[in-house]
Symmetry: C2
Subunit: 422 residues, 2 copies
Amino acid sequence: MSEITEIAQYTQAMAERAVLASRELRISQGGQKLKWLLACIRAIKDKQEELLAANKLDLEKAPSFGLSESMIDRLTLTPSRMASIIKSLEGIMTLPDPMGEIIEANVRPNGLLVTKVRVPLGVVFFIYESRPNVTVDAAALCVKSGNAVILRGGKEAIHTNLAFYKIMKNCLAGAGLPEHAVQLVETTDRQAVGHFLKMRDQIDVTIPRGGKSLIERVVAEATMPVIKHFDGVCHVYIHERADQEKARSIVVNSKCQRTGVCNAAESLLVDAAIAEQFLPMVASDLMEQGVELRGCERSCQLVKGIIPATEEDFRTEYLALKMSVKVVDGLEKAVAHIEEYGSRHTDAIVTNDLSASRQFAAMVDSAAVILNASTRFNDGGEFGFGAEIGISTDKFHARGPCGLKELTSYKYIVYGDGQIRE
Amino acid sequence: MSEITEIAQYTQAMAERAVLASRELRISQGGQKLKWLLACIRAIKDKQEELLAANKLDLEKAPSFGLSESMIDRLTLTPSRMASIIKSLEGIMTLPDPMGEIIEANVRPNGLLVTKVRVPLGVVFFIYESRPNVTVDAAALCVKSGNAVILRGGKEAIHTNLAFYKIMKNCLAGAGLPEHAVQLVETTDRQAVGHFLKMRDQIDVTIPRGGKSLIERVVAEATMPVIKHFDGVCHVYIHERADQEKARSIVVNSKCQRTGVCNAAESLLVDAAIAEQFLPMVASDLMEQGVELRGCERSCQLVKGIIPATEEDFRTEYLALKMSVKVVDGLEKAVAHIEEYGSRHTDAIVTNDLSASRQFAAMVDSAAVILNASTRFNDGGEFGFGAEIGISTDKFHARGPCGLKELTSYKYIVYGDGQIRE
């Protein structure tokens, strides 16, 4: 990267190329994008050895960045992970092309046909950390939805990211797509991000995917809209009329199926009417899985081994084998607790009472409200949207899992035959 | 307002009441909102004399604010304007309730039913200038879409706004809706706006409706999403295969039907292939209507009386009987001009060529692309959406006319029967 002497010029030129590419992509056809994805799949398969070698370079440097073991694991490319990257690309290939979809249409009394048509957002600036599959998924989702993308990965994955990027970029021209539809920031200088975040005229949306400090920085500096994901303080509330067997398995799955993810449950609310019977059982299930429970006074009285919780525990996204527990006096108290302590990400109720389930669904203002199932289902793949570029905790533009549609806007195309306004 | 000593406390308390009201509105029913709108209609009819008297107070003070004649005209309430306020409320009443609409639903292979359900955004902060009908429309649209609203009108309309506000507020409780669903900022202190714009945790969206300086201030200071409307530099492009009679009437209507509005045309592009024949005719039509034409070199050569345009003319939203004119060499040049000089608001083509119309619609990235009709049709009412709270020139969240749907978000409600993730 020695030739890059002026980071401001470098980022500016990159953004301008992205704008030009996005104009071409706006009129691209689904077939071109399919052709590109197919070519990417073939090339990634062909170049597996090169990709693994590039990844090895990153892995060698990983200790010098102070990466933890779990971070190194996430960074590591294996043949089976290669296979799942290919599978994800195949999945994106088979999703319907969002561009040009007529979302709504109506004929006005004067004969005008008003259509609302799905169009790309334009240019996406995507910032992410060390998982190698993200480069591939993000490029595929952005181009399939008609957007040019500027990718900025973590420094610890730069060789792997560059290797994937070059393969995908080299397949663009052959498919008739603009060669700058996908660009990767090749410098790891942190200043580059600051420059891009100022470019509200060139970049239509920024999507940060990573830790809280990254997201906070982006929110503070960005001059354009951001699709962002903050905490997932997710609850499971066991209503007095719950099927207790199902409730036990839902709680354990929500907490333990995978702990380091945003849709894992962090807090268990048990209705006072059944707490004496239910809490000891579920606590024993959880403790068997190695979960440390931190509870309110009443739960500590009911179950030996629950540690007294602090106020802060109920606001904490543990991302670990820990869970806060509270006994609540009925549905309204449960909802009020979720309103006060939750993060509006994913909240579940277990109940067989139809009226209670409807009330909970109406009152809880979270991206996903889950009735009688694990919180872990709030996921683009599980919802049937295919790969996701992130999960939004906002209510504006996109909420919950963000796939192809969430990378689009719309315009109105109005068909007339000489109509004028009286 | 003498009792309001601390503007920060006043605005904070107002925002907190709005948040509480929005929680109640979230679970309100369509029938309650209908009842409220009906009560508002009756009360506004009953209190017409009081409303006119309040408006008279504003009109008396208008000269002291230095309002121009056209601004005073906009501020003036008359019995016929009262009738159109009522008509607008009736229109909003008959629109389908957006809350709870199931936008999408699918059953997953594991039996989970995933539904995407329309929900309110939460709390809307709405800032507007002197038209008295806006208080009524904004309150009605926000509450009908399930949002609590904080209204901040112009100081020159404060008596009129207060009078309408009090009537509508007094009808809330009787309909079973929270009494703070609608609040009006009763101080005209400009600091109040600054306080609200900092409240990203309480206010979900800010909508400014007014002049460019207001919008620029809001964009600069707001910490939450903004639905905003900048310039309307709208074009009409006359393709070589246009029906020239229709083209003449569309150009005149787009420019002259009402000049002071964002969807009026500001720039005429005439294809070189027909310029010699068409431009003199349409120029004469426009000049007859008193339009001053400012053109490129070629158009000045073709028509006497066209003033040479500067580069700046082509970027100007005149909002007056002025129009820029350019002769362009074909469709692609027309599109490139619109890309360079337009504001992505409303752009029209007049052509009988199907392929040209499709190309234009695909390539022009504006909120509305109009084929063979007047630019003046880009309007919520004309599109059949009912009253609008504004027109968005953004691509994020909402684009073009913003009615009830654009004031909503969605959440996922997932129906299971004990499903856990493998």
